[in-house]
Structures are given as C-alpha cells and as structure tokens.
C-alpha cells in the first residue's frame, strides 16, 4: 500500500496526531501544521457511508442524491481551495483556464488522495468541456452501487469539490461525475467539467 496516500488504510500507523497535553486552539495553529497529515481511510469511509445513508433518506431519486452530494462537496471545496492556494501558490490564485485545470489535476488530487489524477483531457465534441479521470477513485473503493441505482456515482462529492475550486478561482462551471469503466478499471470515474460561456469568452480576450 502506498504510504504517501492522504487517505491511508487502517492498518498503517499514520493518522492525525492529537497532542497529548496543552492543545493549542485551532485558530492559533499554523496552517501548515496539518500539511501532509493523513486520515485513516477506514474511518473516512465509514463517515462518508453515514453521510450517504443520511442523504439518501432525504432525497427523491438519483439526480437529487447526486445534487446533494455535490452540494456537500462544494462546501469542502471552497475551504480546500483557499487552503491550497495559500500553501502551494503563495496566496495567488490561478487566472488561466488551463492552469486551474492542471492545478486540480495535480495539487488538489495529490492533497486529497496522495496521487495525481490519471488524466486531464479536453472534450473532442464540445469546446467548453474538460474531463479529469481517476482509474481507481479512493472515495468509492469499498462502495458497490446496487443495480437499481446503477446511474449513481458517489464521486459526485468529488465533483462538488472540483466545482467549488473552479468557482473559487472565478471559473464557474457545471461539474458532474460519471462512471466510465475501461479494461481492468471497472470503477474508473470521469469528472466532467462544463465551463460557463463567460469563462471561454474571457479566455479569448486574455489571449
């Protein structure tokens, strides 16, 4: 098992260390203190599992559920973007479309999952669509979606995070998650990013 993963498996001894004595208030702690800290994948999976079960009871249909997961991810993403820009970019956000997409593909993915995303592609059909793919999404490693919900992809949560990062960097977009299995990777997931018209128009002007 790759030990550098942000989400590690339960057997590894890593995890967020809680200081034994004199706990500093969270607001006084240096932001880099938890840089590189890992969370147990088991614990996180159980938490996410509860989030899903809770959400599932309060929605009608798959689309509604994905929307809810997307919203929950959005709240995470806004904060994560702020933190990562501060840590990795000296507090300067990306202003070019390709750069922000690359930022998501590498920095964001490495921070969340301990590895880069497996691909970043531009859609051949639509000018405004980009795709980020992960062959083995860690978030849904233990999740088997039942047949009657086969359209559902729980990575809608990740899509929400990506959407929030784009939103935070002033690149509003509609972000969705889709299962696109290929040989050897049955749970391969593609995060589809459909950028707003204004973003493309602005990008034209900046050229």
């Amino acid at each position: 098992m790759n030990t550098s993963m942000r989400l590690s498996v339960a057997s590894s001894t890593s995890g967020v260390n809680v200081p034994q004595s004199k706990v500093k208030p969270i607001l006084e702690r240096h932001l880099n203190k938890t840089k590189g800290a890992e969370v147990s994948l088991s614990a996180f999976t159980f938490l996410f599992s509860e989030v899903l079960q809770y959400t599932q009871k309060r929605v009608n249909g798959i689309q509604d559920l994905e929307k809810k997961l997307n919203d929950i991810g959005f709240r995470v993403g806004l904060r994560l973007h702020e933190l990562l820009v501060w840590r990795d970019k000296n507090g300067k956000r990306e202003t070019k479309m390709l750069n922000i997409l690359y930022f998501i593909h590498t920095v964001l993915w490495r921070n969340m999952f301990g590895k880069q995303a497996d691909s970043l592609e531009k859609s051949t059909e639509n000018e405004d669509e980009y795709m980020i793919s992960d062959n083995e999404p860690i978030l849904t490693r233990y999740i088997s979606v039942p047949r009657d919900l086969s359209q559902l992809n729980c990575n809608a949560f990740v899509a929400g995070i990506v959407g929030a990062v784009l939103h935070g960097a002033q690149f509003p977009a509609r972000v969705t998650a889709h299962t696109v299995p290929i040989e050897g990777y049955p749970s391969r997931t593609t995060i589809l990013i459909k950028l707003d018209k204004d973003v493309l128009a602005r990008e034209e002007l900046l050229k």
Binding site: S49, Q53, S144
Partner: protein
C-alpha cells in the same frame, strides 16, 4: 481446494452463499436457508454442551469428502468454509475472507446489516482471493 463459503448472520439467517468449485451439488435457495438455520442451532448446542465453560462452539467438522470450518466473529456473524479434507491453513483463509467482508460489505453504504449481501465488489474480491490461493 475451497468448495464454498456461507455467511450466517447472528439470528441464524443465511446472508451469503457461494460455490467456488465446479461440480458441487446445488440445493434450492430454501434448502440453503434451512441448512444455515440448522447449523446455527447445532452451533449453539455444541457451545452449551461443552464440558469446559465458555466454549466457542463447533469450529471444525471432518468427513471423508469435505471439511467444514466455522469462524464466528465478535458480533456473532458466522463464516462457514467448506474445503476438501486436505486443505491447509483454513483459518488464515477465513480470516482473510472476514477482512474482505469488513471492507467491501460493512463499508458499503448500500448494505443493510443482517440482510443478504449483494455487492459486486465483494464477489469480485472473493473470487480474486480464492483464485490466488
């Protein structure tokens, strides 16, 4: 060689049954349920009639054609493994299957505890593990 795996919930209901070898006699689903329920009862009896206090009940049953191993988890779920008589290290195998179970069944948000297991990932991982033996 491993013949099959049964998982029985704490109430004695069969929640999972799967054969790994070719040419085994198939029972109807009702018969599998009866078999599981009967074993559950026998297991309870064996743990009570033991001359030594706090016995864990039946752990192994030998016959000329097969050996049955039973592993009971802390929560009362029972894993039954049917193997050919010469199969080595069945308890390691059972523990590993329990590990797969805790990962791919218990961490699956779409699984209801004590209910039959329907999980593609669990099937796939078990298959992979048995093939690797």
């Amino acid at each position: 060689m491993i013949y099959s795996l049964y998982i029985i919930n704490k109430a004695g209901g069969l929640v999972y049954q799967r054969d790994f070898a070719e040419g085994l006699t198939k029972l109807t689903s009702n018969e599998y349920l009866i078999l599981a329920g009967t074993f559950h009862g026998v297991h309870a009896i064996t743990s009570r009639i033991s001359p030594v206090p706090s016995s864990n009940g039946l752990e192994r049953l030998d016959s000329d054609q097969f050996t049955l191993y039973c592993f009971q988890t802390l929560t009362g779920t029972k894993f039954l493994l049917l193997t050919e008589p010469s199969h080595p290290n069945a308890s390691t195998t059972l523990h590993h299957m329990y590990e797969i179970y805790s990962d791919f069944v218990m961490k699956n948000p779409f699984h209801t505890p004590e209910m039959p297991i329907r999980s593609d990932m669990f099937d796939r991982q078990l298959q992979k593990y048995v093939a690797s033996l």
